[in-house]
Structures are given as C-alpha cells and as structure tokens.
C-alpha cells in the first residue's frame, strides 16, 4: 500500500477533524453522559440529582426482568443474525445463477431494505394478527393450535425476529451478490472438472471465499439487532407479552423515556455498551481467525 506523505504536518489532522468531531459529539459525549447518569438518582425533571454510586447497577442486577432482557437480546440478536445472514446467502446464491430476468430478481431482493423497521413491523403485524391476520386464518385450517402472540411469548419472539431479519435481508444480499460474483469462474470450473458436486463446491470453495463478507455481516447484523431493532418491537409487541420480547435496548428506552427513571436507563445503556463491545471483540478474536481474506 502506498503511504501518503503530507508536506504540512497539520494537514492530516485537519482532514480527519470533521470525523473526530462527529465521533466525539455523537458517540463519546452521549456515552460519557450515560456513564455519568448511571451513578445518580435523577428526578424525572432532572432538577434533583443525588449521587448513589453503583446502586442503579445493583438494583438492576437484582431484577429478574433484567436478566430476562439479556437472554431475550441474545436470543433475538442470534436468531436475527442467523436468519438474515443465512437466508441472504441462499438468496444471493440463487440470484447469481444464469437465469432470465436476473436484474428484476436482484432489484426485488433489495427492496425490503428500503422499508423502515416500524413499517416492516406493521406489515408483519397485519400478517400475524390473531384477530385479522392472514396467516392465523390459514393456519387454522391446518392446526387448532392458536398462534396468539398477544399471549404466547415464543410466537411473539418468532414474529419480531422474522420481521427484523426481513428488513436486514436486502442489505446482506447485496453484499453476498457482490462477493459471489467476485469468485473467479475458473476456480469453480476447475472444481467441476475435478468432479465436485454443487454441495462440495459450495463448502470447499464458495463458503471459504465469502467468509470475510460473512464475518463482516455477522458483526454488523449482531450490532444492528442489539441497537437498532427498536422500531419493529415498538410497533408490534412493545416488549410483551409479559416481557417476552423485551430486549435490552427496548427496556432501557421504556425505563428511561416512558418510566422516566433516567438513572436506571443510564446504567442499562452502560451494561449494553459493555456487552456489545465485548461481543465484537470476541468475534474479532476468535471468528476472524477462520476468515480467509485472500
């Protein structure tokens, strides 16, 4: 790689300044604020603040709902990532075959990404709704089991996972299509000549070659599921039934903005931040070793 040499020693710093300013203002400052709030008991209007040390944290750790939200987050983020990345790889594999109308399929596959999470949530709500949904109507012909996500936690979880994974699909597919097209056809043809079937070709050649993309998408989808899946949950289940779909970021929002308990919400944000940083570091440490970059 070619190193750029600046004549003026200050110029490189000036050039990165906007990015650093944005990072400081929108990432470090809020993170610092959360850390600060997590150590205080704050009245709803913010005029009374008492330093209480780690009391917000100890109160949280004594709360069974909090552990439930951690488990929910892991289940949710894990399922969303597996579903969104897995289905995307299959769909991208199909969309790189030599078939008629390829451009149309590819365009259609990208569409879900253009839909806001809250809107996606509403669409799935209409499909799944126990009173007026299409899906329960047809399921009733097959089984007498009631898929009522208003009361059954696992159905609600399946619903929000599916809706969220669906919104990520387009993004993941775009990356996979690019990755698959970058695989030289000569390599695949050589494998063909050696007598490798489609499955063998996929496991021995395609999958290792797109592994950098898979790794990138897994990290990104994880983080996305932890932080930005708020819209779907708020539009569909609001964390219910019970606390079955209350993931950490949603609980932090509800306690902070609806419940006006800013201190606890701050503490939850700090833990969430630590957890996601930890997860990402772990992924880089262990998963990246299995990634082939060239």
């Amino acid at each position: 790689m070619k190193r750029t040499v600046f004549k003026n020693p200050w110029l490189p710093y000036v050039l990165v300044l906007p990015q650093i300013a944005v990072t400081l203002a929108f990432f470090f400052w809020p993170a610092f604020k959360s850390l600060q709030l997590s150590l205080f008991r704050v009245s709803p209007f913010g005029d009374k603040m008492t330093f209480i040390g780690l009391e917000n944290f100890s109160a949280l750790l004594a709360e069974p709902e909090y552990y439930a939200s951690v488990v929910n987050s892991l289940v949710f983020a894990g399922s969303v990532t597996a579903l969104a990345v897995g289905v995307a790889l299959v769909a991208a594999g199909l969309a790189t075959q030599k078939i008629r109308g390829l451009a149309i399929y590819r365009t259609l596959l990208l569409w879900p990404y253009g839909i806001a999470p809250a809107v996606a949530g509403i669409i799935f709500l209409f499909i799944f709704h126990p009173s007026y949904g299409v899906l329960p109507y047809f399921l009733a012909f097959v089984t007498s089991y009631e898929f009522n996500w208003l009361l059954k936690g696992w159905v609600a979880m399946v619903l929000v996972v599916t809706a969220t994974a669906w919104t990520h699909l387009g993004y993941n597919i775009a990356f996979y299509i690019a990755g698959l097209l970058a695989i030289p056809s000569s390599v695949l043809e050589a494998a063909d000549v050696d007598g490798a079937g489609p499955v063998k070709r996929f496991t021995a050649i395609v999958f290792p070659l797109v592994s950098p993309i898979t790794f990138y998408l897994v990290v990104l989808n994880m983080v996305f599921a932890f932080f930005e899946s708020f819209g779907v949950i708020d539009a569909v289940t609001k964390g219910g039934p019970g606390h079955a779909t209350e993931i950490m970021v949603y609980k932090a929002y509800r306690d902070g903005f609806i419940g006006l308990n800013v201190g606890s919400s701050g503490a939850q944000s700090v833990i969430l931040m630590a957890l996601v940083i930890g997860l990402t570091v772990l992924q880089f440490r262990f998963a990246e070793k299995k990634v082939t970059y060239s």
Binding site: G46, F257, I258, G259
Partner: protein, 463 residues
C-alpha cells in the same frame, strides 16, 4: 486611511440597520404567544385546534399555538426535555397516570394558584367531584381537567338478538357476562364473549374502585408517598383468576394493551367490550352493527358498589414564565373550562363534561335523552341511577339524585412511577392469561415490583 474606511463601514452598517428597523413591523402589534403541547390525534386533534381557534378569535392580546408532540408519553418526555433546556411550553397535556410525577416535580405552576393570581374566579364546587379530586391536593386543583373519560361496557345488540338475548338489557353482573358469553358463542353469534381495552385501567384499577376495594394503601396513595399496592388480595386474585379461566373458554379474549383490542369488538369477533367512554364517538362513526352501552359488570355481594374512576388527561402549566404570558395561559384555561365550551367539547369529542352547570345545560337540551350512551359514563362515575332521569320523567328533565358517592377507594389513584407500575401490572396480566403464572403468583410479582418502584419514587422525592 484604514481608520477612515472602518468608520465609513460602521456608519453604513448603522444606516442600513436603522432603515431595516424602520421598515419592519411595529412590535407593539405582535400578539403574545402561548405554547400548548398536546397528544390528541385524528378527530380529537381537530377538536383541539378548533377550541384554540375559538379562543384566539375571542380576543386580540394572546395567540395560543397548539402543537401535537406525539403520544402522551412522548408529549411528557418532550416537555421535560424542554424544561431542562429552560424553554418549556406554557401548557402541556399530561395523562392521569403522570399526575403524581407532575405534582411533585417542582416544575409546574398549580392551576388554582395561577387563576388566583390572575383574579380569575372559578367555582370549583360546580365541578364534578371525581374529576376534580383526581387532580387536587389539599382541596386545591393542580391541573385543569381537559379530557376525562371512564371505562364503560359496550355490547353488540345484533349479536345479542341472534343469541336470543334481550338487546336492550346489557349484563349487570359478571355471572351474567359469563352466562351471556356462553350463549353468544354457542349460538354462533360471536367467537368470543368479551374483550377489554387498557387492561390495567379497566380490569384492575377500575374494578377495585367499582367494588370499593383499595388498590393501594394510604387511600390509594393520596395520603403519602410510602405506599404499597394491594392488588394481590382476595378480590384482585379472584377477578384476574376468573379472567384467566375465561380466557381458556373464549368467554374472555385478551386483545393487548391500550386500544389494540378495539378491532375485536368492531369486527364482531367479541360481542362485549370494556373500554373508555371516549370511544363512543369513534364507534358511532365506525361500527357497522347496532350497539349499546351499560355500566361495568359487578360481582355483587359481599362486595359493595362504589363508582368508577376517570382516565384521560389534564392541562398543566409550567412555571417560570413571565406574568404577562401567565395571564394569557390563565385566560385560555378559563375559556376552555367555561360551561359553553364544555358542552361543545363533550358533544364533539365524547369526553365527559366536568361541571354540574355544563351537565345541567346538556340535560335541558335533552342531550342525554338523545345520547343515552354518553349518560352511561356520566352516571357510573357519579353514582347516578342507570337510566337517564330525563328519559324516565318524560317531558321535563329532572336532576337525578346519586345513589352512591365516590369512596376513598374510588376517588382516584395517586401513585408515583404509575406509568411503570401500570406497565408491570399489564405484563403480569399477560403472564397470567398466557398460563405462565397463576393469578396469585402474577399479582404477587406485580405487587413486589410495583412496591419497589413506589419506594424508588419516594426516594427520588425525599431529597
């Protein structure tokens, strides 16, 4: 030379600014703006705008600017954020569960004080006690009641007829609700018996009040901050346990929080529904079948019958505004609560009229005779007889005598962190209805959690 040019530039600038200043509008003509943040959407939002338009047209000094800030929670959060930035709106609409938070916030200008300072006399005695009581401390009103409703019983008359039930007689007891539900389901008139909106408000808070049972210690929190919930006692466990059992038989069908169960009634899936009286207007426009209303079902003896409690929102005045602006705020509040405005507001939105003189005016105009459903809510809240008196008396409306009055258990609820507590109660109701917990377990957990939140609130407000 440089000095001369600087002077010249300065002179020119001054001249330009002076000219601009002269050409600009005369400041003396500007109206004082009063900012009013609310959470009303759809037809209700239009009604708020119309009310404001009428006020702005009624005088020349002030201009009220209404602004919808989202849901109740979002409006409150926005007002708090603005208060912390030292630029709050003059008036903010806050839902009833936020009352204790607002009262103790130190950020509000109590309405009784504001109107007193401005020399505006309001006859508080004329206002309906259960409404004013909910928002008063030591007999003084803290926020102006704006939109008040109470849960009532709705039923599908067509389904009743199909099931061989009398379409003019809604069930009065829970036993009848069960019996009617079975008939409705067996005859194919409906898929489920009944559903509910706002689960905690209708099935826990109001059921306790209606049966004269305490919801919390210290007169439901009116007498202090060291409060504990009492919803896991015999009555609460019995009622929630019964709902859970009925859920299994389709007699009851849980439809989610807030208004998400509305489609169950509107679509005809459930033949009976318990929801806010504020939906009368919407149902009148949107429901395809014949429907009627009744008072909430009761379990009968040994429980007494008291009154139901209100829901809805009030207008809070934020403190720290100049006296000249406060005068405008006070005038707007007085305008919004005068008898004529109340009559209009009630007739347009379906929210309750809250002064006796407004109710009298409505009676005299035969409003309740023509709109018996709107009488249902009013009667239930104030303990009046079931049938509208003017309908009984034939020609001349006779003021009815209350059969019951609000008790310490039915006057209202004053809990800190109530928004979260309601959330906890509804989560546990879902756990019970979903079969994850028994009624006793669920309510015990709700009480334990709720009590923790009440303690937290007391700690926040002790400092």
């Amino acid at each position: 030379m440089p000095r001369t040019s600087t002077l010249w530039v300065a002179a020119c600038t001054l001249a330009v600014f002076t000219a601009l200043g002269l050409a600009g509008p005369t400041p003396a003509l500007a109206k004082t703006e009063i900012h009013f943040w609310h959470a009303m959407t759809g037809q209700l939002g239009d009604s708020v705008n119309e009310l404001v338009r009428q006020f702005n047209a009624s005088q020349t000094e002030f201009e009220v600017k209404p602004l919808r800030k989202g849901s109740y929670s979002e409006t409150l959060t926005a007002a708090i954020a603005a208060y912390r930035q030292k630029n709050p709106p003059h008036i903010v609409q806050v839902f009833e569960v936020g009352t204790q938070t607002m009262m103790l916030s130190g950020a509000v200008h109590p309405v009784h004080q504001l109107l007193g300072e401005q020399g505006i006399k309001v006859d508080w005695k004329d206002f309906i006690a259960p409404v004013v009581g909910y928002y008063s401390k030591d007999g003084n009103l803290y926020s102006m009641p704006f939109n008040s409703s109470t849960p009532i019983f709705y039923y599908n008359k067509d389904a009743f007829a199909k099931a061989g039930l009398d379409p003019e007689k809604p069930p009065a007891t829970w036993k009848q609700v069960e019996e009617y539900s079975k008939k409705l389901i067996a005859s194919g008139a409906a898929k489920c018996g009944f559903s509910t909106g706002w689960p905690s408000w209708t099935m826990v808070e109001n059921m306790h009040a209606w049966h004269d049972q305490p919801l919390a210690t210290k007169r439901n929190g009116f007498d202090g901050l060291d409060v504990e919930l009492l919803i896991n006692r015999e009555f609460g466990v019995k009622h929630i346990g019964q709902l859970a059992a009925w859920q299994a038989d389709k007699i009851y069908s849980y439809g989610g929080r807030a208004g998400t169960a509305d489609p169950k009634f509107v679509s005809g899936e459930c033949a009976m529904y318990i929801q806010s009286s504020a939906l009368i207007g919407g149902f009148t426009k949107g429901v395809q079948f014949k429907w009627g209303t009744g008072q909430l079902p009761h379990w009968g003896p040994p429980y007494k019958k008291a009154t139901s409690i209100i829901g809805g929102a009030t207008l809070w005045v934020m403190k720290g505004k100049p006296a000249a602006e406060n005068r405008g705020t006070a005038q707007f509040l007085a305008f919004a609560s005068n008898t004529n405005q109340q009559v209009w507001w009630h007739a347009t939105t379906g929210y309750l009229a809250i002064s006796n003189s407004a109710v009298k005016q409505l009676e005299e105009a035969y409003h309740f005779v023509r709109n018996p459903d709107q009488y249902t809510a009013f009667a239930q809240l104030t303990g009046l007889p079931v049938a509208a008196p003017s309908a009984l008396a034939g020609k001349k409306p006779v003021p009815a005598k209350p059969e019951r009055v609000a008790t310490a258990n039915s006057q209202g609820i004053r809990l800190g962190n109530f928004v979260q507590i309601r959330d906890v109660i509804e989560s546990e109701m879902e756990n019970v209805f979903g079969g994850k917990k028994t009624a006793k377990q669920g309510l015990d957990d709700a009480v334990a959690k709720g009590n923790g939140m009440l303690k937290e609130f007391a700690a926040q407000n002790k400092q």
